[in-house]
C-alpha cells in the first residue's frame, strides 16, 4: 500500500487538467500574442481559465494575473506594492510564521530601507488582532498575512484583519498568501478587504509552474518582471498557456464540491489526530478542532528525529514532510514551530501529514498502523 500524505508540498495533477495540458502542448500550442488563428485559439484558453478562477473568488476576470506559482505571486505582491507605494511610507507588517516566499522578499526590503513589524502568534499559530491594530501606523503601506500556515495549518483571522487595516487607513494594502487555503475554503477578497491574494496551482491538483495573483482593480503595484509587455505589462513573458489552462481546470474542479470535500477532510483529520495521539510520546501541534485547516496535521514525536521517522515511513511507501518541506532541503529549524513555542527538543522531531481530496481512511489507517509499530522502536535509540 502507498499513502501520499504530503499534499501541502504538492499534489497529483488532476486528470482533467492533465488531458487539457497535453492538448495544449501538442495541438493548440500557439503563442497568445500571435496575430494569427493559432494565437487567438491560445488566448481563448487563457480567457477561459481566468473566467473559471474569477468565479471561485467572486472577483472580476481582469483582476487575475497569471504567474509561475506561489513564490512569484508573493514576490510580485510584496516587492511590486512596496516599489509602487514607497513614497507613502516604508513600513510593512507581516507575521513571524510566513513562508519563505513572503519572509525573504520582506527581509530584502528591510535590508533596503523599509521598516518591518513581525506579528507574533499564540501557541496555536494564530495572530492577535489587538497586536495588529497596535502595529498599524500612518506610514504602513502593506500588511501581508498568510491565510493558512503551511506547517501546522493554523487559520488566520483574515476578514477581521482586513477590516482593521482598512479602518485604520484605506490606502494600506492588504496581501494574503492563500497558497495553503485556496481550494480548502471559500475566499471572498472583496468582503475581506484583500487587495492582493497569492495562489499556487500545484497545491490544488493543478500543474507545477502555475499560479496567479489576484490584484484588486486600481491597486497601485509595479511589475517585477519586464519584457514584452504581456498581461498588460504587469508580467512580461509568453504566457504558459498549458499551465494556465490546467490551473483553470483544477480551480474549477476543486471548488465544485468544496464543502463536501472539506467536511470529509475534517473528519479524516479528527480521526487521525485522535488515533495518533494515543501513540506514546506523540503530540499534535496547533488547533485540533475544525477551526484549523482541514488538510494539515503537525505531529511531534518525542525522541525521534523528523528525518528518521520520515525515512522509516518512506520505506513503507508513506510520504510525509519534515517540518515545512516544500522548500526545506537543508535542515533548518522551522520558524513557525519556534514561534508557537514548541519545546526545543521537539523542534527537530516534528513531521507534517497533509491530506488532499483523494486521501482515504484506509491510507490513514495504514500510516497509523506503521507508526504504532515503528515509533516505540525508534524511540529506543535516541541521540544524546
Amino acid at each position: 500500500m502507498e499513502a501520499y500524505l504530503d499534499n501541502s508540498a504538492t499534489t497529483r495533477c488532476s486528470e482533467k487538467a492533465t488531458a487539457l495540458m497535453i492538448e495544449l502542448l501538442t495541438q493548440d500550442y500557439g503563442n497568445p500574442s500571435s496575430l494569427h488563428m493559432k494565437g487567438v485559439v491560445a488566448e481563448k484558453y487563457i480567457t477561459e481559465a481566468k473566467k473559471k478562477i474569477a468565479k471561485t473568488l467572486k472577483v472580476q476576470e481582469k483582476e487575475i494575473l497569471f504567474t509561475s506559482g506561489g513564490t512569484e505571486s508573493n514576490n510580485l505582491a510584496i516587492l511590486g506594492s512596496a516599489f509602487a507605494n514607497q513614497r507613502a511610507g516604508k513600513h510593512i507588517i507581516t507575521t513571524a510564521i510566513e513562508h519563505a516566499s513572503v519572509g525573504s522578499p520582506v527581509a530584502f526590503l528591510e535590508e533596503n530601507g523599509f521598516e518591518v513589524t513581525r506579528l507574533s502568534v499564540d501557541k496555536d499559530g494564530v495572530i492577535s488582532l489587538e497586536e495588529l491594530k497596535n502595529a498599524l501606523r500612518p506610514d504602513t503601506i502593506l500588511v501581508t498575512i498568510m491565510q493558512v500556515n503551511n506547517e501546522i495549518g493554523a487559520v488566520e483571522p483574515i476578514e477581521e484583519a482586513g477590516a482593521i487595516i482598512k479602518s485604520a487607513n484605506p490606502n494600506t494594502l492588504f496581501h494574503v498568501d492563500a497558497i495553503q487555503s485556496y481550494g480548502k475554503m471559500r475566499i471572498n477578497p472583496k468582503k475581506a478587504n484583500i487587495d492582493l491574494l497569492s495562489v499556487s496551482g500545484h497545491k490544488i491538483h493543478g500543474p507545477k509552474g502555475s499560479g496567479f495573483l489576484y490584484i484588486k482593480e486600481k491597486t497601485k503595484i509595479k511589475p517585477i518582471i519586464f519584457g514584452g509587455g504581456q498581461q498588460k505589462g504587469m508580467r512580461s513573458g509568453t504566457e504558459n498557456v498549458p499551465a494556465i489552462a490546467g490551473l483553470g481546470a483544477a480551480a474549477e474542479e476543486i471548488y465544485a464540491n468544496l464543502e463536501e470535500n472539506v467536511s470529509r477532510m475534517h473528519e479524516l483529520r479528527n480521526y487521525f489526530i485522535q488515533e495518533v495521539e494515543q501513540i506514546s510520546g506523540v503530540s499534535v501541534n496547533g488547533k485540533k478542532t475544525d477551526e484549523n485547516a482541514p488538510h494539515v496535521v503537525s505531529v511531534s514525536i518525542k525522541g525521534v528525529r523528523a528525518e528518521v521517522i520520515l525515512h522509516t515511513l518512506e520505506d513503507r511507501n508513506i510520504y510525509v514532510s519534515a517540518g515545512s518541506a516544500c522548500s526545506s532541503n537543508k535542515p533548518a529549524i522551522s520558524s513557525t514551530l519556534k514561534s508557537i513555542g514548541l519545546p526545543a527538543e521537539l523542534l527537530d522531531s516534528t513531521v507534517r501529514f497533509s491530506f488532499s481530496i483523494h486521501t482515504t481512511k484506509e491510507e490513514l489507517d495504514y500510516a497509523l498502523s506503521v507508526m504504532r509499530e515503528v515509533i516505540p522502536m525508534l524511540q529506543k535509540y535516541t541521540r544524546h
Binding site: 528525518e307 525515512h311 518512506e314 520505506d315 535509540y381 541521540r383 544524546h384
Partner: protein
C-alpha cells in the same frame, strides 16, 4: 591550432626494465581519458616520448582538462610538429608558433635547441643563435635572456621537428593500474574522497565501501556518496562501490556498549567489513581519510584502536595534513561542493556528546565482548546484503 601535445613524465623515466609497462599504462590511460573528448586523437610512444596527435578539429580546453587527469603526466606541452624542410621553413614555423601563442610579445626569451638527429646541418648552438636573431628581427619588442627567460622556446630536431614553449603542469604521480588495488572507506565527508584521489595518484586502482544506516540516513546521503565516487572516478577510473547497510550493527552496539565508545567500536566493525570485501577482490590495502587529531575518533589512541582490527596495511594519505590543506585538494578535484551537502551520515547519527578521545584497546575489547551473541550474524547479514555498483566517471 596545435596538431599535437608532447607528454612529459618524470618518475617513470627512471624505472629500469619495467619502464615499458609504465609507459604502456600511461598511453592506455591517456586514451581512456580522451575517449569522452570530441576529436580524433592518436597516442603514440616514440623514443621515450609520448605524443598525443590530433587529426582535424578538437576542443583544446577539454583536451587539456582530460590530460590533466592522467596520473603520471608531469607536463603537457602543446607542440608544433613539422617536417624538416630547411632552415627558412623552420624560422617560419617558429614565428607562427610565437604568433599563435603570445598575444603580447613584450617578453624575454631563449631558444633551446636539441638535436636527437645529429646529422642536422647546424649544431644546437648555431641553431639557438640563428633562430634567436630571426625572432628579434621579427619582434623587436622581445629581448634575449639566456639565464632567466620568461619564455623558453624549445626546438628539437627529431625525426620530425618539435617546437614548443608552453608546459602545462600535469598531476604527477604514477600511471593508474601500475600499483595494484586498494579499498577506500568512503563517507560523505570532505576527507575520504581526497584520500582516495591521493592514493590513486600513485597508480593504485580503487574500490570503495560506504556504510549507510537507513532510515537514520537518507537516500540523498547515499546518492551524495555515489556522486563523490563519480568525481573521484574522473581521476581513478571506474570504482566498484560496496554499499553496506550498517543499521542493525549500529543499533546493536548502541544497545550493548557504553555510548562514549560507540564511534570507536563502530569504526572497528567498519574496518573489518571493508577488509572482508578487500580480501575478496584481492585489494592490497585499505584507504581512509583519517588525519591525526582531527576528531575524537582520530586521535593517535583512537587510530591505534581502530587499526588493531586490521590485518591489511591501512593507507592514510591525509594523516599529517591540516583540514585547510585537505579542503584545498578537495576543491581542486571538485569534490568539495558535494562533500558539504548537509546530509547526515552514519558516523554522526548516534555520536555521543563526549566520546572517548583516548580509548584503551583493552576496554574497547571488553565492551565488544558484550556483542558476542549476535555480532557475527549481523556482520554476515551486512556482508550478504551488500549492494554493489560500478561507478563511472561523470
Amino acid at each position: 591550432m596545435y596538431s599535437a601535445f608532447l607528454i612529459k613524465y618524470a618518475e617513470i623515466a627512471i624505472k629500469g626494465k619495467n619502464r615499458y609497462l609504465f609507459e604502456d599504462a600511461l598511453v592506455s590511460n591517456i586514451n581512456y581519458q580522451l575517449k569522452t573528448v570530441d576529436g580524433d586523437f592518436h597516442v603514440r610512444k616514440e623514443n621515450g616520448r609520448i605524443y598525443v596527435e590530433m587529426q582535424g578539429d578538437y576542443d583544446y580546453d577539454e583536451t587539456v582538462t582530460a590530460l590533466k587527469r592522467v596520473f603520471g603526466i608531469v607536463g603537457i606541452c602543446p607542440v608544433v610538429l613539422t617536417e624538416d624542410e630547411g632552415f627558412d621553413k623552420l624560422v617560419e614555423d617558429v614565428i607562427a608558433h610565437i604568433e599563435e601563442t603570445y598575444e603580447n610579445k613584450n617578453f624575454t626569451f631563449k631558444v633551446n635547441s636539441r638535436r636527437a638527429r645529429k646529422n642536422y646541418p647546424m649544431t644546437s648552438m648555431e641553431l639557438n643563435a640563428a633562430l634567436g636573431e630571426k625572432i628579434l628581427d621579427r619582434y623587436p619588442e622581445t629581448k634575449v635572456d639566456v639565464h632567466n627567460p620568461q619564455v623558453m622556446i624549445n626546438v628539437e630536431i627529431r625525426p620530425k621537428i618539435n617546437i614548443y614553449s608552453v608546459e602545462i603542469p600535469g598531476p604527477g604521480g604514477m600511471p593508474l593500474g601500475t600499483a595494484g588495488k586498494a579499498m577506500l572507506l568512503l563517507s560523505g565527508g570532505i576527507d575520504s574522497p581526497v584520500a582516495g584521489y591521493m592514493i590513486s595518484k600513485r597508480g593504485v586502482t580503487l574500490e570503495a565501501t560506504y556504510f549507510h544506516a537507513p532510515p537514520y540516513t537518507s537516500e540523498r546521503a547515499k546518492q551524495k556518496v555515489v556522486d563523490l565516487a563519480k568525481k573521484v572516478a574522473c581521476y581513478s577510473g571506474p570504482i566498484r562501490l560496496n554499499i553496506v547497510n550498517f543499521t542493525d550493527i549500529q543499533l546493536y552496539i548502541y544497545e550493548k556498549c557504553p555510548h562514549d565508545q560507540l564511534t570507536i567500536i563502530m569504526r572497528r566493525y567498519m574496518m573489518k567489513i571493508a577488509e572482508h570485501f578487500a580480501k575478496e577482490t584481492k585489494c592490497l590495502g585499505l584507504i581512509t581519510g583519517e588525519s591525526i587529531g582531527q576528531v575524537a575518533s582520530q586521535t593517535m589512541q583512537s587510530l591505534a584502536a581502530t587499526n588493531e582490527v586490521c590485518t591489511m596495511p591501512v593507507y592514510r594519505p591525509l594523516i599529517a595534513l591540516d583540514k585547510q590543506d585537505i579542503v584545498e585538494i578537495s576543491e581542486k578535484i571538485d569534490t568539495y561542493e558535494t562533500s558539504i551537502l548537509p546530509f547526515e551520515d552514519c558516523c554522526t547519527i548516534f555520536v555521543a556528546k563526549h566520546p572517548v578521545t583516548k580509548p584503551n584497546v583493552e576496554y574497547i575489547k571488553k565492551s565488544e565482548e558484550k556483542l558476542a551473541e549476535k555480532i557475527d550474524e549481523l556482520m554476515a547479514t551486512a556482508i550478504d546484503t551488500v549492494e554493489t555498483i560500478m561507478v563511472e566517471a561523470e
